[in-house]
Each structure stands twice: as C-alpha cells, then as structure tokens.
C-alpha cells in the first residue's frame, strides 16, 4: 500500500485530505507542523509527501529544501499544497524542491492525477 504523509496544520484540511486519500486506498499519516513533518519523513519514509507551505515551526519551503538536500530521502516526491496562488508562488515552491504544486481549494481529480504520475 502506498504511504502518504500529509503535512498540514489546519484541522479541517487535515480531515478533508485524509478522508479523500483513504477513500482512494492510500495509507495516510499526518503531521501538524514543519518540524514534525520532517521528522516523520525520516522515520516513516513515505512514498509521497503532500506539503502545506504555511506551517508553524518550520515552513513548507524549508521542509522541501531539507528533504531534497538529504540523499536518503531526496527521491521522495513532494506535492506542495497551498493557498498562495499569486504569480510566482508556483515557481517559489518548485525552486524549493517540490515536484508538483496544487492550489487550495484542492481539485482532487487533479491532485490524484499528479500523485499517480509521480508514483509511476
């Protein structure tokens, strides 16, 4: 089974994403801030990470940079989830090392498509 780590601090969003992923038969683990997210990547070695960018303690960009700088984990694909939808936000996320980018409110069809193409 595919293990997905969701790093998201908003409880409503956590609930929404988790329920959607479970329906698609993903195994889901949750982290509520950047530091926890980074820790869980190292301990659980998930297949893919869905990463909110505005996070307490350590923001999503820094989490992505840290992962991509670590040779053990830099193969793990990261999809940025963010409400930052202005010009340049996409580039900023990709520059930080994210492999894909999805704007909130999440279009789940598009999200699953991206997850599948990254996991192939």
């Amino acid at each position: 089974m595919t293990l997905v780590l969701v790093v998201e601090d908003n409880e409503i969003n956590q609930d929404l994403i988790k329920r959607r992923l479970i329906k698609k038969d993903f195994q889901v683990i949750m982290a509520s801030d950047g530091e926890e997210g980074l820790e869980m990547i190292k301990t659980h070695n998930p297949n893919i990470v869905l990463l909110d960018l505005s996070l307490p303690k350590m923001n999503g960009w820094d989490v992505a940079k840290n992962i991509k700088a670590d040779s053990k984990f830099n193969k793990i694909p990261i999809i940025a989830l963010t409400a930052h939808a202005m010009d340049g936000d996409r580039e900023k996320a990709l520059n930080a090392g994210c492999d894909e980018y999805e704007v909130k409110p999440i279009n789940y069809d598009s999200l699953f498509e991206k997850i599948h193409s990254l996991l192939k």
């Binding site: 969003n13 505005s54 409400a83 930052h84 202005m86 409110p105």
Partner: protein
Amino acid sequence: MKSKNKAHEDERLKQLKSYNLLDTLSEKELDDIVQIASEICNTPISLISLIDENRQWFKAKKGLDIDQTPRDVAFCSHAINGEGAFIVENALNDSRFKTNPLVLNSPNIFFYAGVPLVNNSGYKLGTLCVIDNKPKKLSDSQIKSLEALARQCMSFFELRKRKNKYVRYLKETKKINKILSDINHLGCSKQYLNNDLFNSFLKKAIHYFGLEYGIISYIHDNQYFVEYVESPNNEIEAGSSFDLINTYCFKTYNSAKTITYLNIGSDSEMNGHPIYKNMKLESYIGTPIKINDLVVGTLNFSSKTIKKEKFSKADINFIEILADLISRELTIQSINNSLNNSNKRLEISLAGADLGVWDWNLINNEILYDQRWCEMIGLNVIDVKMHLSSWLERVHPEDKIKCKKAFLEYNEGKTKSYSMVHRLKHTNGEWVYILSRGRFSKFDKNGKPIQFTGTHLDITEEIRNKNELVLSEKRLRSAQKIAKIGDWSFDVNTNQINWSDQMYDIFNENPEQGPPSLDDHISSIHHDDIVEWQEKVTACIQKAKPYTLRFRIINKNKQTKWVLAKGRPSIDIEGKIFLIHGTCQDVTEQVEAEEKIKEASAAKSAFLANMSHELRTPLNAIIGYSELMLDDINESLDIESLKSDIDKIKKSGNHLLSLINQVLDLSKIEAGKEDIAKDNVNLSDSVNEVKDMIGSLISMNGNHLKINIQAKNNYLLDKNKYKQILINLITNSLKFTKNGEVKIKVEEVNINNILHIKTTVTDNGIGIPKDKLNLIFNEFTQADTSTTKKYGGTGLGLSISKKFCEILMGNISISSTENYGTETVFTLPVTKIVEIKQKEKIKRNSNKNKNVLVIDDNEHDLLLISKAFKKSGLKVKQAKNGAEALSIFTKFRPQIIILDIYMPEMNGFEFLDAIDLNEIKSNILIYSSESFSKKQKSDFLKKAISIDEKGRTSVLQMVSKANKLLESLSKEAS
C-alpha cells in the same frame, strides 16, 4: 589666488582692448620696429605679438605669413608671465616646448626671445619678439637693444592711443558745433548761414533803417570792441577798439536802454563828441546787448545823413529783438566755450545729435529750448514758450521733487553737476524718459549762479529695455524659486564653480560665503551616488556629452535631498570645452511622493495576496466538505457524520462572511465614507452588550471577564464603532489567553482639557514579541503567521479598530510583554450629556417661551421641521439661507437653531462664523441633507468641543439627513 589671477587677466585684456590695436591694419612705425629688431638680433623672424583671450595676434611681423596662433601654444604667453626678456635658446632642449606644434612644424621655432610690452599701469599687452629656426644665443647688448625697442613700441602705442582720443574729441566737437548751429536758427530765416549770421543781421537792419553803419560791439572795462561791422567801403574793421567814452554807445551802455539821435549836429550835448568831430555821424540808434541782464555790448546803427523822421516804436522794437537774438547767440557761444572746457561735455556729446539743449536764466526763469529739445516731446520750437513753465508743466508729478532735490544738491556744491533722469509728457500722451544734465554757465559778481545750461537725452528705450531685462530676470528668478531650480556653471580650467541664488537654498549654504570649491561640492554628494555623478561630469568635460542625473546630496543641515541636475558643455572657437553649465532642481518632494506611491502599491499587492490566502482557507473547507458529502451520500447515510460536516461548512461560511464584512469596513474607512453617529451612550450598557455578543468565546479557553465601569454618565459617542472596537480587543485577548483573566476598565479622563473616555483591555495571555508590536495594527498581521491557523481571526480586527479610533479623533495603543500579557488602551473624545439632559428637562417646562430658528433652503424640510416645533408650542421662524437667517437672528434671539449646512449664498458653516457665538446661548443643531466630508466633521467636532470647553450651555450636534433630525427631535419631545 586663482580668482585674483583672473581679475588681473580681465583687467589686462580690458587695457589691451583700450589701445584699439587688435585686428587693425599694419602701421609703418611698428613695421620699422620689427625690421630693426630682426636686424639687431640677426633673426629671420620678428613680431609684435598681442595676446588676447585665446590667441596671439601679430600687429607687426617680419618673416612670417600667418596673422595669429592659438594662445596656448604661443611662446609669447610665457613671455608675458615673467619679468624682462624671456629667452629660449633651443626649444628642443626645453620640456615646455619640445612637443609644441610651432616647434615641430612651420615656422619651426628653435630660438625665441621676447620682451614684454608693459604699459604705464604695469600690464603686459604682448611682446616684441625675435625668432629663429635654429638654436641661438643673444649678446647682452642685443637683449638691451631689444628691450629698448620694446619700450619704443610701447610709447608708440601710448601716443597712438592719445591721438585716437584726440581725433575722437575733434569729431565730438564738430558734432556739438552742428547742434549749436541749429540753435542759431532760432527766430531767424533759414537763409542765414552760421558764419555770417550777425553780418546778415546788420545788413538787413541797415537796409531797414536806411542807415549806413551797423556794429555789434563788445564792451569790457570801458573798452569798446568792434565785433561785427557793416560799413560803406569797409572803412571800419572788425576787431578795432575804442574807448567807450569816445563812442555814441557810452550812453546806451550806461543807461542800458535804446538810445536814438536824429541830428547830432544840432544837438548841443552831443555835437562836441569825438565821433561827430571825426566822422560827422548825424543819426544813431543803439541798444544794449544783455546776457543775463548784464550789458555786454551794443547793437548800433548810424549814418552821416540827418534822419528826418523820428525812429518809430516798431524801429525800437526791431532793434531790441535783434539785440535779443544776438544775446541768445552769444549765450550759446558761452555755453559752447564753457562746455568745451570740460570733459563732461565730451561725455554728454557722445549721444551726438540726439541731445536737446536748454539754457535757463535763473533770474527771470526764461529758458531757451532748442529744436531737438522740443522734438523729444513732440513739440515744435516755434510754438514753445521760452520759459521754465514749458518744462515744468510737462514733468511727471512724481519726478518734480527729485528734480528739485538734484538741483539743490548741485547748487549747494554736493554734486559736481546736475544729472538726473525724469519723465516728460510727450504730446502723444506718453511719458518720455529724459536724462538731463547741466551746470551753471554764468555767475554774478558775488559768485551766485545766474545761468544754468544743459542737455536732454531721450533714454526711454534704454530704460524700457532695462526694465524688461530686470523684469524678465526677476521672473526667471521667481520661477526658479518656485520650481526650486538653481543654475550653475563650472569653469573647466580654473575649477571655479558659479551658483545662482537658488543653488544656495538647495544646498542650504550662505550666499555671502560664495560658491563652494570643487572638493567641497563633491563632499556634499551622497557617497552612493558619487561614482555615477563623476562618470557623467567627466564625460561632459571630456567628450562634450550633456547629462541629466538624479542624485542625492547632503546639505549643510545634514538633510538628504534629491536633486535633478542637467549639465551642458560650452565649447570655445577652437572646439575646446572651457565651461560646463546647467541647472539643478530640488526634486526631493517628487521623489518622496514616488516612493510613497511605490510603497502604497506594494502594500496593496501584499493586501491582495493576503486576501486571496485568507479567502481560500474557508472556501477550501466549504468546497472540500460539500464534495465529501456528495460522495458520502451515494455510499452511506451516516447522519451524524453528515451533520458534523455541515457544521464545518457553516462555520467556514460564517468566517468568510466576517472576513468580507471587515474588508468592506476597511475599504469604507479608506474611502472616507464611514459616517460618525452621535448616539446617547451609556457605557455600562454598551460593555454588557459586547459581553453578551462574545458569549461562548469567554469560557472557551477557560478565561473569565472582569468589567470595571467608572464612567457612569451618558455621553455623545458613536455607539456601534465603540462596541466594534471593544469586541475586537476583547476577542483578541480571549483568543491569546488560556485559563486567565481579561479585564475591561472604562473611565473618564481629561486630555488637553477635553473630556475623553479611556477604555483599557488587559489580559495575562501569551503576549506579543517586542519586534512585532509596531506591526500589530497593520492589515493581516498577527505576530506569527502560524497564529492565524492556531487562533483563527482575520487579522483585520486591530487594523479596523485603529482606523475607527482615528475617525473618532481618538487614539489607540498597545503594550505587551511576551508570556506575561497584553494591554490595549483606546481613548475617544466625548461630550457629557447627563447634565444637559437634566437642564433640558427643567427647561422643557418653560419651552413655551422659547424661540426656534429653522434654517434650510429646502422648503419641504423647512416646513416639516418648523411644524414639529410648532406642535410643541414653541415660537418658530424660518429662513431660507444663512444671509436671511442672519437678519432674523439679531432681533429674534433664538434659543434653538436648526441649521442645514448646504445652502446657497451663505452656508451653515459661514453662518456660524458670522454670528457671535459668545453672545448667544442657543442650542444649535446642525444637520445636512448630504453626508459631511471627513474634514468638515473633524473641523466641526473641534469647534463643538471648544465651545463646550468654555463652559457655555450651547450644544452643537450633527445629524446627517433631515429625517434623522426629525427622529431625534421627536425623541426629545417625548
């Protein structure tokens, strides 16, 4: 030191030019000098070289074809800098000259010896020099000879200059004579030519009288001089002289009257007279010639024949007129003589034929004016009365006193001559500017002046040009001052900077200290801008590239200013840049405005980005749960799970709504459209209402609320805004505090003698880091972005609260210690209305006697409001505008005024300004059918407060819209 050199050089050039040598034809005497010089020194070339601004020009030359060379390559430039002979024996051995084009190319100067031509004042005009195309050495005697020749050359220059001056002088004198000859024609037929004017007189008169002899005599010291004479066979010669007593004229002279004899042979008194004995002259008519009432000679006619008829009155008139004419002519000659003796005359005469002449007899105020004098003011000499009044009545009234003063100063010896500019009225009605100059031309025995003679010069055009020049200069300066533009120049050779007045303003320098040195100027340029400045200026100096550059300067007060400088090169005839000049404008204000716009635009972008983020978060939930529910409905129908999801959608929807409301509030505030209401507020009630609204939030984090209301009166205050501010502050405190206490304290305070309500909200929550405190009132700022997620909120609450406080002319501040708690305080100015209400209640009983003045231009409103008052039994008068109200006001003495603001002719505010608020004890209610502008409100509020401050009972209120006014009236009535 440099400027001193420059002054010396300027003076040298001036002196050089005064000799009028440059670019003139060759002169034999000077050609001889160079010939001799070249022979003595045994050189092929010899020159007399004169050095002006940028070249040496050869007044005399031998062995050279060119007329001039640029100054910077000239050997002679070096020669005039030193004393004595300047000698270069071999230019190729001299570092100063070995690359000089005059050495390397034709005429291949190898040897050069030049002696400066020094004038009497010590200025070196140029050199006498000798040149050879091979190295050479001069013997001492050769050098001495060359120096002697140079002195000769110089003394020739001096002689030449004096001669020129003399020639000029002669020319001027001729001009003067020409003018004076015009005067001679006064009263005479034009057929007389100047030279034999008097003889023409005499001939004509002899013919007229039918006599034989005619003489104009000059009498001095009892000697009778024949000046002009007509006699048969020229038997009397001009220039001969007699004892006065031996002439018939002695009596004429002594009596100063016209004397006639018809038959002297039969006149026992006269027939023994020597003339009768010698010449047997029988008849005689003679009259004195007077100048300034002094008899200077006679005009007399006589004959050997006995005159049968008496001389008629007409005859006597005729001879006296002639004598008068002669007297005038002699006066003019005396002017001529006296003026010829003075250099001043020369100066005046430079204007040549444009001079008008006047000659004033100070005894009888008769003035002779010449043709030109009259023409200047559009008169014809024939029509002009030869009297002071002719001048006086045409002098500009403002100038009369000046003229008198100038005359008195001259008369008292304070000035050397009378010289003054005054206006005279031309016959065409315009004023003509006249330069009048004069001096006393004759004195009596006691040395008292009796004749005053001078000239007029029309200088209208010059004055007008000068005025226009001054005016346009003034305008330029004033425009520069307004635009903060100065102009400057920089001399590339001397590094001298020149500044216009405005430059000193921009750089905050003292104009008396003069422009700065180049180094000082550079040090005032901002260090970050200096490289670019230097690049531009260097390119301008070296490559003639004009520039425009905006850079910062630090002026004397250590202020940083932005200036926009433009520079242009000035190029001399040889294509060299000698000066750059340009403008410098203080553009600090513009730059600051641009920066503000940039900041504002950046803030707007940040706001939009934040808004987008803030709106997406709840929308995310709403859409997400709706989708989930749609899925779930198909799969299972777990009602509990659906309920919980619907609740989440509702909460997110509400959050979205409050977000949008607050953003709208903010934009309303920013657009200045937020109305201020004046409600009758009981603060205790208001705080409790807030407490109810917050409700469950209080207990959510286990907090409790402590309320302390010390302001127990009723106040005029915008209730909704007060409550909204309080809600924002309390919810913030509750959110960031856990198991703690939030305290609210409301009290009255006096700030600058104005009553305020001070509300303090204190908590013992997480506090705010010091570095975030100053950001806390900005939109979408919470101390940490993550706090938004943790604690919720729009991040707009404090920002809106602050803006509400500003609108209500109050203040808000926050202080906090991290992990200890936060205290927020806001104060709002208020009007206490408790006592007034009580007073009103008492008064209301006696309201029957009160007068009400209703002022409104809208007739409908006017009637409506008036009716409402009449119903309560008050006396009501109506006015349609401020002006009408004013006329009613003084008699009617209203206790209550209902005032509309927007009215034609005199609006409400103008009306308030016009009435004496100190005089009245009226309650004034102000309202408007349109909303008040922000400025009007704050002005009015200030006024209202200041009036209350003085302890008067007047209450000023503002109500927007007439229907609201009626509402409040009906409330009061009930």
